[in-house]
Subunit: 236 residues, 2 copies
DNA sequence: CGCGCGATTGATTCGGCTCAATAACTGTGG
DNA sequence: CCACAGTTATTGAGCCGAATCAATCGCGCG
């Protein structure tokens, strides 16, 4: 399940660090992390952690893409958010001192580093800038979650699908052809939107007919951003 | 709108403090807050702050009950959470350095203290225990929000209504007659559940017929907790 | 080339929303 | 203390969005 790769990426040279919460930490702090962290490699579709378990550290994404999801009452997975290079996951449960509230599964080949709780708390105690960054991250997450919560409660599926496409583009940006840089099954998109797979497919087909998007297999390109934004009914 | 009351409650003697994030702070810190805080009194139904504005501090509830809500696309208010004695509100926006993502309105006569940003950050810098408490609070909030998000996306209205009743009981507990200690309009309950007012009423009527609850005006008593829990389909 | 899963489309059903009409309740002023 | 006006709660009827069920279709891959 978990393979330890021979070449462990070093934080000092980690290309994702400048995008991360650790972008401003000192060299000594980097060493502290480097000396204690672990590193794991995952293939596509592997589970990094499971909802309900405890974690004893946080995971920092070196490379790859991850979905965080909860299993709903009927077994359908509800995607909560994504993580990519430079993002961290697992911090919520660790900081709340609670069980993990979501599971994490890779969407492609992914390398993550594991930073133990003790090291993280050491750093937080010493480095208020880092702490402030974490406070900001958590606070921002809450804002996102409550926004989506409101959408789920009040917006029709069509608007939510449009909004999720915009969110995907924001999160993963586009390749040189304009396709969103992530491959998700229709079922996974449905899992973000909180709807049946068939409904998602129908609405994506409509969007194609209306020339708001193009698709090529799992790849999606937004071809009429203003109109799609209008359909999404976003007003902030 | 806002009335400054002559008698400002002192943190040192504040009955809510031991329930709050500030339960373990030192006497000097209490003084620091006391010397800089403001205090406001609100009648029922008054707005403390509005979504989209900025805040320059946090609000600590001395007495009373508050609903935090977002205005949905069609104007319907989606209740995000409640705050009562000892709870703080407004911290998300302050810590994220973003606009307020929700509005706050009193459900009854309420007294709140206002702690300026500078004082809060001063305390956070000095007192890691306090900071850890805030980290924990934020992390817990995220867990709650994502749980509700999943419910909204996946559970039918009937289950959500049942679950919200359980949540209300948890949050506000019951009086000596067994009624939940908060008065909400049907519209407000609908705003929690994310449904039409009529649907909420219908389901509450069913629950009454099935002897799961009793009502007396706006007051609600859960009379069959196990069965209501079953209907709510909660599994954690 | 055929197998099998994911994607797609169609038909049908149903939960929940909207609209509309009463009923009950709250506060207000006479 | 009562009558009145304005909410808020309740119930009913009809409609619509979205879920479910049921076939195909099509692509990726051995």
């Amino acid at each position: 399940m978990i393979n330890n790769k021979p070449e462990i990426p070093h934080c000092a040279t980690c290309g994702s660090r400048h995008k991360s919460i650790f972008c401003n930490i000192s060299n000594e702090e980097i060493d502290e992390i480097d000396n204690s962290k672990g590193c794991h490699f995952y293939n596509k579709g592997q589970v990094i952690f499971k909802e309900g378990h405890y974690t004893n550290g946080i995971y920092c994404v070196n490379k790859g893409k991850i979905k965080l999801y909860k299993d709903g009452p009927d077994g359908k997975e509800q995607i909560i958010r994504f993580a990519k290079e430079g993002d961290i996951i697992g911090y919520r449960a660790l900081l709340a001192d609670e069980k993990l509230s979501a599971s994490a599964k890779t969407l492609e080949e992914t390398t993550v580093c594991f930073i133990p709780k003790s090291v993280l708390f050491d750093l937080l105690k010493k480095d208020f800038d880092l702490t402030q960054g974490v406070l900001k991250l958590l606070s921002h997450d809450i804002g996102e979650a409550t926004k989506i919560l409101t959408d789920m409660a009040q917006k029709p599926v069509r608007e939510r699908v449009a909004e999720m496409l915009l969110l995907l583009k924001e999160t993963f940006s586009t390749d040189d052809e304009g396709f969103i840089n992530v491959k998700l099954s229709r079922e996974e998109i449905a899992g973000m939107v909180g709807t049946a797979t068939e409904s998602t497919i129908r609405i994506l087909s409509e969007f194609k007919k209306d020339r708001l998007i193009e698709t090529s297999g799992k790849r999606i390109k937004i071809t009429n951003l203003p109109q799609l934004t209008f359909v999404a009914n976003v007003f902030d």
